[in-house]
Symmetry: C2
Subunit: 280 residues, 2 copies
Amino acid sequence: LLDEVKPDLCILAINSFVKGVMEEIRLLAKKKVHVITIAEEMAYPYVTEPELSKEIDALAKEHGITVIGTGVNPGFVLDTLILQLSLGVRRVDHVYARRVNDLSPFGHTVMEEQGVGLSKEAFLKGVEEGTIYGHVGFMQSIPMIADALGLTYDEVVQKREPIMTTVDRQTKDVFVKAGMVAGCNHTAVAMKDGKAVITLEHPQQVRPDLENIGTGDYIEIHGDPDVSMVIKPEVPGGIGTIAAAVNVIPHVLNAAPGLITMKDIPVTHAIMDDFRNHLT
Amino acid sequence: LLDEVKPDLCILAINSFVKGVMEEIRLLAKKKVHVITIAEEMAYPYVTEPELSKEIDALAKEHGITVIGTGVNPGFVLDTLILQLSLGVRRVDHVYARRVNDLSPFGHTVMEEQGVGLSKEAFLKGVEEGTIYGHVGFMQSIPMIADALGLTYDEVVQKREPIMTTVDRQTKDVFVKAGMVAGCNHTAVAMKDGKAVITLEHPQQVRPDLENIGTGDYIEIHGDPDVSMVIKPEVPGGIGTIAAAVNVIPHVLNAAPGLITMKDIPVTHAIMDDFRNHLT
């Protein structure tokens, strides 16, 4: 297919992990095709996959292509947007952000990763065994924020807790009975000398509206000055990720070859006219 | 002084207009000193000062320096931040943003530019005669948003209206009696085929709290999907501008020579560690 189409650029939407897109990136690099991927780990792969990151960067430079991971989260709400909001801040003590979304539009795979529909016991067992992952992205967003802002931390403490429902919740793909798990409250805190430096919370569940839980994106930067931001409802995950992947195309074509991330390219935004107008 | 200190970079905070910083930029360029300025018109000077913009760009390239205008507004809240928030949007119909701030920390010059303390008649006369300017920045923010998003417009309609106070308002520098002007409600709307494409509102007044008016930054992107953001209170103008000017330093040092704007550099943010860590 690649030989037939001879694309300049490919958007990879096949897997959440660096390992899961590695073969495709190797192939695309050899064919000199730029890569935008929504694989969550690729948003900032340096910490979780240092060796593969080096390989991708070297491959990209060798073949003159640019590789980037993006999406709504990681890639935007809990990292790039936090950075942008800190522009008017001269001292950052603590970054606190919370993304409350509705998982309803997603299908079976996501429901299983989040433990939706399980009993509390099955959920906790799944977390222990690693079958319930929650959000893939904290170990990308936290290092990206820390590296950009120049913050350091000793460790990242993650927690995955069941969100129990008191009412029946129905989506197109899943039914959750009252008393069962409607989603996963996944949090990550970067600690420095026993104090939280970056706190990210991402409770994900189906039909939060049925218990009057509003969705939204919340970012607080505590420092000098404080900044407190709210987006209600949340930037939608599905459409938002499609938009982000497409909107970065000219930025990727303009960038120098290599593995890059959202903090390496000019401010990213919607584009309504011909993308070629945005090539430099 | 320049010969003695031999700076790499200078932050110019002397004037709001391109004409008002032009001589200094010419001098700094000759001395090969990068320039960051908070002159509002410099945030996106291409429309209001096309000739001077060309001259600055040519000078900067000739002498190998980078020149940028930044600040909280223009430079951040009503332009760069709007762009960043549109990343997850695939169709933009209308950008609506409103910055409600408190002018109280500012001194006499700002009060005079905004008509604070005048009677309604004196205010309207001042607007007519051009002595009351309101906000310097709309003809920077609107073209920057339009160029980045790829929107076009036929004209920009600006309005400057007095904000009358019903109570006495006192700041460190000015006293406004009930019935007099507490500030200027300056708005700008970019129209395309008779419809608003970009609407920016910036009511600026002293002590809005005395009439229970909360300050804040509000951005709504209407399209697919909608995005609705609130920052309360507003990103403070004074500290925020200082922070923005300082935080862009490494980005400016990393940039290619020339006249650039906030949409040309990687996402801008607070920096807590040694700025040299952020040089590429």
